[in-house]
Every structure is written in C-alpha cells, then in structure tokens.
Amino acid sequence: MTDDATTYPGREPLARRMTADAWDRVIGRFGFAVDRRIEGSAHAFAVRSSVPHGTITAIDSNEAKTVPGVLAVITGPDVRVDPSVATTHGETRQDQPVLAFDKVRYVGEPVALVVAETRTAAEDAAALVDVEIAELDLVVDHELAGQPGAPVLHEAWPDNECGTWTLRHGDAEAAMARAEVVHRATYRSPAANHAPMEPHVATAAWLPDGRLEVWTSTQAPYPVRRRLAEIFGLAEDRVRVCVDPLGGGFGSKLDLRLEALVALGSRAVRRPVRMELRRDEVFVTSAKHAATVTITTGADRDGTLRARIVDIVYNGGAYALSTPRSTRTGMIRSPGPYAIPDVLCRVVGRYTNTVPAGPFRGAMTGQVCWAHESATDELAALLGMDPLELRMRNVLRDGDLFATGEAMHGMRYRELVDAAAKGVDWDADAGPTRPELARGKGMAVVLKSTRTPSRSEAHIVLDATGRVTVRTSTVEMGQGAHASMAQLAAARLEMPADDVLVSTIDTHRTPFDTTTSSSRSTLTMGTAVERAADDLRRRIDELATAGRPGTAAPTHSNGAVTVALPEPTVLRYEDLLAGAGLDELVGTGCYQSPPGAGEMDPETTQGMHTVSWHQGAVAVEVEVDVETGRVRVLRAHGASFAGRAVDERRIRKQTEGGMIFGLGQVLMEEVVYDDGQVMNPNLSDYQIPSILDAPERVGSTVLTDPDPDAHPHGVGENTVPPMAPAIANAICAATGVRIRDLPLTPEKVLRAIHEPAVRTP
C-alpha cells in the first residue's frame, strides 16, 4: 500500500475531488477496498458448513488438493492443534474458532480454507473438500432457544444466554398497576442483511520477520489489529492494517471478518492471500439481530405516560461478537425518547444456529423503535388521541430524566416532531384517489446513543510543499466522513477545504480510532481533527513569530500567515518550513470521552450512558392498495438534530438516504431460514429497494445549534429506525389494520384487511 495520501482518491484537492469522486464512483474508476490488488497474491475460498448444527467427524481434503493450482487446504482441526493460533477468539466472549474444529453452529460457518493460484481453482477445490458432520438438533428461533430443553450451542452457556441486562428506574410494576390505561403488545422483526454493494474483501501478507500486514474492508481498523494480534500471538505493533474506502458497510464490516482467514492462508503458502466474498457468502457473514419486543405502557387518560415495561429477546446467532454488550445498548434505547417516571427493561440475547448477528445501521435500535413507536400509536388509538399530540405531550424536554436517570439537555424532539409532521402536511386531507387505494400518514421518533467510552486521534501534517493532510483512521464508506474532516481542519486553518487532503488508513501511519460506527466520527474524530488543526496552527504561529517576542499572533489565510514585523508580512507555510529547515510540521489532537462516561450500574443500568444522544423523527404518507395489500410510500420527511452542523448537504443526504435504506427492512427485507438454511442468499431472492421503490417525495429538516462551541451530533442513523413504525402507523391510519411483525409485506397487509379480528378497535 502506498503511503502517499495524495493517491486517494486522486491528486486533485478536495472540492474538485468531491465532484470527481461522484464521477469516479459512477464510471467505476473510484478505488474501493475491493479494487486493491497486492502483487503475487494467491486466492482463498472457504469451505463452509452445510449443516446448521453438528459435530465434525471427518474432513477429507485429498481430492481438493489434486485440483491444479491448489496450494494448500487448511482445516479447522489443523488450526486446533497449531499452538501458534488461538483456539477461539471474540470481542466479548472467546467463543468463536477461526475455522470450526469440533462443532459447526450455523450454515455457512467456515470449516476449511482452500488457497490456490486463482479464485476459480480455490472455489472448484473447495467444492471437493468432504466434510462429514453428525447432525445435532438445531434452534433458529431466539424465543425457542431460551426454553428448557432447547438445543445448546455452547457448553459454557447452557441456556444459550448471550447478554442479559436489566434497567430499573423507579418502580414500573407498581406504577403500571396504578395506571388508568394500559397497553401491551409484542413486536417482531426478522434478521436482515446489510447488503453493502461491495462484498467483504481482505488480503494478508506475512513479512519474513514475522510481521503481519492486512488490507481489508473493515470499519474497525484498530480492533481488527488487536484481534489479529491476539489470535496470532503478536504484539499489536507487529500487525499493520490498511483500509481503502469501502463500498458500503452499514455495520457489516465492524467485527473481524476475513482477516484471520487470509492471515492463516498467507502463513501456509508464504505469499499474500486474498479473499473476496461471493454474494451468497456475504449473506452468511453478518446479519441484523432478529428480535421480539414486548412492551407494556401505562398512561393517564389525558395521555401522560406513567410507566413502561419492555422485555426484549435478541437473536445473537451462533457466536457472541458484540451481542453481550450491545444488548444492553438496545435495552437502554428501548423506552424511546419519552419522559416516563417509572421504567423497567429486561433484555436477553440468545445463541441460535443462525448467522452471527452484529450491528446494523441504527444498531439494536430498529428493533426497539419498531416496538415503542408502534405502541405509541396503539396507545393513542386507545386514548382517542392524535398520535402526534401524544408524542408532543411526552417527548423528552430539557431537564427531564431519561430512564437511565440522566437529566437530558439539548432535547429538540418537539421541533423534530413538528418538522416531520409539516413535511408531510400532517393535517391536510389526502387528495382524491381511486376507491381501491387508501392513504394515511404516520410518524415515529427515535433516541439513539453513541458508543461510549471511545477515543479518536488525528494528526494533521503540513509538509515541505505546503500541503496539509489529515491523517485519520476514520473509514470513508460513502458517508462523506473524509470530506467533513477536511472541512473541519480547513476551518481552523482558515484555508479552503479544497486544499486539505485526507489520508487512507494505515495503522502504522494513521493514529488510533475506536471504530467507524455508531454515528460517532463527526463528534469524536471531528473534535480530534479540530484539536489537531489548532495544535498545528499554534506550531505554525510559533515558527512565524520565532525570535520576535511580543509579536501578535499571525492571521492565517489560504496556506499562509500574515505577521506584523511591524510591517504586515505574508509568509507561505512552505516558506516557513523551509526557513526553519523542517520537512514537516505535525499537529496532533485527541478526543477521549470523559472519565466515567458509559459506566452504568450493573444491576439497574443507571448512570451516564453516552456522550451524545442522537435525535430523529420521520413522518410518511403511504398509499395502500386494499385489494393487493401493496404499500407505496408517497412521501417521507426526516428530521434530525445535527448540533453544530459541518455541512448541511451531507446531513440531508444522510437523513434522506437513511429513510430509503430503512424502507427496505420495512417493506421487503428478511433473511428467510428453513431448517437452518438461508433460503434467499442473493439479491434476487432477498430484495432491497430500487430507486423505483423510493418515495416520490423525500424531504428533510436539519435542526442545528448555532453556538460555535456546540459539538456536532451524529446524523448517520437518525432516520433509519423510525421508518418501520412510521410506515406501520400510516398503514393503520389508512386501513385500520395493525401489523406487528416486519417486514410489512403486501400479503400480511391483505391478510390483516381480510381478517377484521386484527383491526384495532
């Protein structure tokens, strides 16, 4: 990998580059991770379990080894007896083998790895590896996985338990007993696939001195480095992780994916080894947690919320990944952005014989937002209230206590609800339409936190030619993070953003960052970049005023400083460096969440959960064909609070794009299992929205904080989770039917219309 930051994405500065970026993406010239080629690479293909749960009894790779071009076949049992490779690994629990050796726990689990001169040869040979598996009883459903006698995936976790937490704020049970109106319902959402356009890809190469280099499509360069170091028993500094821009991530590229496999392969054949997933492999590599959420709400007759009890079961799939900790995050967000005096939430994650589940844009929140926002409308119907009014009455305001016991501030929900409603002309009657078409409007709000604790570091380098480059490990994956970093640095240096470059990621060169996830980068890395820019500016000022004590601080403009000497003199950055005999000047900056942030009471989950709460609202208008059940979203309007806005156009793109992304999980997306097999592991059988499915009118409102010292808020996920309940609420407004399990297929809608029992009173 080249170290020259100017090679990404072109030699042109940013603004011209922004246009060129889009153009390059469209014509296929943009350099994605999947385009990276390392000279001399061999190719790996995984042999995957075709059995959802079983014991490996034999693996015969003799025939595979006869395929021309095959260099090595590595099996789980081979790795098991290799003392230089950790038997199992995991972010939260050491429960996952690099290659399965004793048991297989889901269809698609890697059992062996074939390395060959070409990908085709590896793929052909993989089909010839004979894996004998004695089948065990399987469990796919997370509710069944918790029942006595359910098949057990991991002996260490006999109840298939994978993350258990409780949040206790006040006495919800007592308050519920006193409530004038109580509503209770259960809401289900299925596993979904992130379906990034770019499949997962990685290349590993071992250097002769035992260092490991990896080029990978990850959202988490530093965690991947740490995990590789753990698995192969290396010091972290002996592992180098490089990341090119991704063709979409959405959470699917956060955990260790292919990196350990290619490292194993490369070590076996002493060459770089590359692996690029086929689309069907993408489907068995990551997933959204399926979930069941039962929510009970107590309220006064006037609509004041009094108590909420939430019970959540998440389907973690076959291995823990982040589920034991992320279940808590989902639980904390599950009461929704409401001021409720008494709240009780209980969550459990369950291991099942399905694809291991991990974060999915709006991580762990889509499932609970689906529940609390459907429930809000159902409660409004019980109370005979306008659901908008019910929200306005109860949404969090400054000073309100949230369920974690935190006093909330910067709460903008009333404005967000109002803006979303106005965006779809909430009070206007639907226009005339054909008798078989029914129109309705729906709304939903969401509260999301960002990962805490976390840390981001940035370096800004001024080189001898006067060029300014931000070195950051924030991954560019289409969200525009690099453009924002350039803009933030440029503002502090008072130079055009066009003239600031942003490096690609190389853990030997770009400093630490927790992950690119959780809508955290603009706040955390953005702050680090601003501090690095301030630091660089200070160092430039020192150079400019060196030997002239008492000189006023210089002014900066367009890559030059003006110093009063006493006559104002303009000095270009490169000349300052040359004059001081310096090749470069580096400013550094760090963001670290405050001590204690993110630490919660283990029994009650009270405490300061997050450094930033993300606030969003969505309103939609739908048209339901009551003869077919087909739902068309006519209008969608998203509202998001951005804090100090870096670039309003990019915020709008996230806000509006999030709704179109979210539309898929509402109307059509579901990973379908039959007997433990994924039945739709391709983009024909698993559908995501096309541009023809996008609402005819998509709008957004961006609320900002004019205070120049305010911090930016993450906006990458704020309109994804609310889409499902907003659309379900609109369908109910149009037709009177309430559907509580996603996706909202035409068949479910039509069945509900045909079966009046499902109608709400």
Binding site: T628, R630, Q687, P689, L692, D693
Partner: protein, 287 residues
C-alpha cells in the same frame, strides 16, 4: 475453464452446441446464464455467443412481415420495449419487455434468451402465449415454428432441443385486437412478478370476438383456461363478466408458494389482476 466462441452463422452456432454434447450453451445477453453459472446451477465448457450471427434475415430487427410481427433472435428486451411497431401492434409485449429486471438487464437480455430460459417468474412468456405467438427455431439444417404455448413445458424447461437456436419470434397481427399486461410484484418494483396477467382480446360491435387470458409466475408454465374465456365470446365485457372471469381464474389456478407469496396470496392476486387487466383492455377498446 470455459471457452467462449463467437459464431457468424446460425448453423455454426447450432453445430457448436451440438458438438459440446451437453457441455455447451448459447449465450445472447448472458444476464440469466451468468447468474446460473455463478450459482453453479449450470455447468458449461463452452459458451456459444450468438450476438454476432449474420446470416439470419432480421436477426437484429423488429419488422412487419405481412400479417406477422417479427422480432429477431438478437433483439434486446429494451429494443422490444421501445419499438414503435411492438407498442402499436402488441402493447402487452412492449409492456412486459419493459418491466423485466432492470434497465441494465433489459439493455443486454434478448427476448429469444428470455424464451429459452423459460423462467416461470418472468414477464414475456405469458404475453407471448396470450398473443398466440410462435417461436422460430433453427436446428442447423432447417427452421421450424413452435407455438409459444407449446414451448414452455415446466420450470426452466422447454420443448426445444438443447441445440435449437431461437432465431426469432412471430406475433400474428389481428385487426382490432387489443392487449394488456399487468405485472404484480410483491416486493421491490424491480422484483420478478409474483403474478403476471396477459390479456389479448378482439371486439366486434362492442362484444368480445376473442379473448385470451394467460397467467404467468404462478406455476411452472403460463396458465390459460380457454373454457373460461370462451364463455365471454359474443358478450359485452362489462364489470360482472370481468369479475366472473377473474373469480373463475382464481378458482382454476393451482399456484405455487414461494418467497414472493403463498398460494393463497397468489390466488387472490390472480383474482385482482385478471379483473384489472380485463378492465384495461375494455378501456382501451373503448378508446
């Protein structure tokens, strides 16, 4: 290793597939075949490219030949959808061709390839049956025409030999005929149909002179029940008659269940979409 051969004549192409003895396949736009190859549902040693064929008159063209509309074996779905001739004489076929896959697929896929693939969940087959179209094939020595309704025999299966090359489609042109195609997709707008309904009709003095209703995507082959549609002959295509035909089709159909809908749902979608397609042709006849 797969060999790709480009053929200049129909006879060469047929010979190449025949010589492959089950390991060679014709490829036109390649949109379906490449997917099947990727999924390893089809294994081939030789791909016989037919886009370069130069000796079949009208191979790449759409033309009127007397009372027949000819669509050559090299014609893409996008060309079918955009053709003024097809839109004028067989609007249902233009419509069906315009909703297959997405624009990238339609720009590459050919109508002939669509027929040869015989995907039960595609749009053109039902329309070709409803229009009483013939599929013209070349077997290396001579040409023959096979009625579309006799071509499709099961899921992904035709009555054609593996080495029969589809060189064109002949759609009979009938004075005063009207047609419509309704694709009903249950997921993305770019999904394959959950149910497709093709209707072709001719009206005489306001009464039905002929009527054909063909259902696609509900089972292995396009489905038609002439005994139901023939009862409409001589009658006005009014709302009660349309509802009756729709109900009878819904009763007659034995739908599959798949990821796009259960059997129950497909039956209901046959009912709704047959009625709506009949309403469309009735309205176009009134114009």
């Amino acid at each position: 290793m797969v060999t790709f051969v480009r053929c200049a004549t129909a006879a060469d192409a047929v010979a190449a597939v025949r010589d492959g003895d089950g390991t060679a396949k014709f490829v036109g736009g390649g949109t379906a075949l490449v997917l099947l190859l990727q999924m390893r549902l089809v294994q081939v040693d030789t791909l016989v490219g037919v886009r370069t064929i130069g000796d079949v008159p009208g191979w790449s063209g759409i033309e009127q030949r007397g009372n027949v509309l000819w669509i050559g074996g090299g014609v893409t779905l996008a060309e079918v959808a955009g053709s003024a001739l097809v839109r004028g004489y067989a609007p249902s076929l233009a419509r069906a061709a315009s909703v297959v896959g997405n624009v990238r697929v339609r720009n590459a896929a050919t109508l002939a390839g669509n027929i040869a693939e015989a995907d039960y969940a595609s749009d053109p087959p039902a329309v070709l049956v409803s229009l009483d179209a013939s599929v013209v094939v070349h077997d290396g020595a001579r040409q023959r025409a096979v009625l579309a309704r006799d071509v499709f025999t099961d899921f992904y299966t035709t009555s054609l030999d593996e080495s029969d090359l589809v060189i064109g489609v002949a759609v009979p042109l009938v004075d005063g005929s009207v047609s419509a195609y309704r694709k009903f997709a249950s997921r993305s707008m770019e999904d394959r149909p959950c149910v497709g309904v093709a209707v072709s009709a001719r009206f005489e003095d306001g009464a039905v002179g002929a009527l054909e209703v063909v259902i696609g995507a509900v089972s292995g082959t396009p489905q038609r029940w002439p005994e139901i549609t023939e009862r409409a002959w001589g009658r006005r295509l009014a709302a009660p008659l349309m509802a009756t035909i729709a109900d009878r089709y819904a009763d007659a159909v034995d739908p599959i269940a798949d990821i796009r809908g259960s059997a129950w749902y497909r039956r209901e979608m046959v009912r709704v979409n047959v009625r709506r397609a009949l309403e469309e042709v009735a309205a176009s006849a009134d114009d």
